[in-house]
Symmetry: C2
Subunit: 188 residues, 2 copies
């Protein structure tokens, strides 16, 4: 066999990059997160995996609320910054221009094309990380990011993260319609 076993290497790439926000020590705090996924359709639930010792983890546990904002490529440096400095040491409440929706402890970032406010739905403790499952209570954007009322990926211009090489990447080109391009194999 030409396959080689390279050990227990997680390779889930490329990852979406979001900024999780919550209140920690009674102040808005933010952290870059690549471990995020939708996990339920109705109600819309998303899950994020965060190191259990992180300031953001404690903040979500205490407040029961958090935000998920999708940065565009122009926010690359700030996004990385809130991922590398700890809210326990640095006040990150002034890094972005903030706004709130219905939840009072889910600070959202005005500069981000898409922001979601989430209520903590379930907490799953794992050995080194905690998975926070949040219910999306509202999704905020601006007209300029929509086409026919729907989010337009090209206008939003998100970026991705890959590990273990630790690179950020721009999005490429559309290469096919999902739940569609495979139908041509159905007859074969």
């Amino acid at each position: 066999m030409d396959k080689i076993n390279i050990g227990k290497t997680a390779f889930i790439n490329p990852m979406p990059v979001v900024i999780a926000g919550t209140h920690s020590n009674e102040k808005p705090n933010f952290m870059a997160v690549g471990w995020i996924s939708s996990v339920n359709l109705n109600p819309p639930l998303i899950a994020i995996g965060i190191g259990s010792h992180r300031c953001t983890a404690k903040g979500i546990e205490e407040s029961g609320e958090f935000s998920i904002c999708v940065p565009d490529a122009s926010l690359l440096e700030k996004t990385d910054y809130v991922g590398v400095v700890s809210g326990n040491k640095v006040d990150k409440s002034g890094v972005f221009d903030l706004f709130y929706g219905e939840l009072k402890k889910a600070p959202m970032i005005r500069e981000c094309p898409i922001c979601m406010e989430c209520r903590l739905y379930q907490t799953v403790k794992l050995p080194t990380h905690t998975m926070f499952i949040g219910e999306i209570m509202g999704t905020y954007t601006e007209e300029k990011y929509l086409t026919d009322g729907k989010p337009n990926l090209t206008k939003i211009n998100p970026f991705t993260l890959t590990m273990p090489d630790n690179n950020y990447w721009s999005m490429g080109d559309p290469i096919g319609k999902a739940w569609n391009i495979g139908l041509k194999l159905k007859q074969k």
Copy 2:
């Protein structure tokens, strides 16, 4: 405020695209999955969100094992195909060339650049979907996908999925080093 609330819209984009494999009805079965994330560092745990009624969900529950394979763009049509046809109706065991590692019910796809075999670690039941958390027991690739012994993203050439527009996308260009490019803001 220029922000508008577009309702409870999950926008976690772009998503990685993988193929989850397991044994369903005693045969290898596969399904395209975009709802996937790492969730724990040590041991390496990944989570996938799958509709609870899906054949793959039943298969993972019964076998306690599954695989996660990362397709490259040349497998776009086959990946979409195993996402649109149900294993309850169609035998998908012959779509790919298969191999196994240590686990007997985690069929992996020879055509995929990266494959992981997982043991079911924890199951989280949600209203419409089930989150399967798997521990990675082995990761398989080929020399041609490595540079200095590490997975090379450009050689692997994975693709992404976005919703709700339902498009597949190629990867773009590297735009910065993670846990690094933000450090320049630390002094400001």
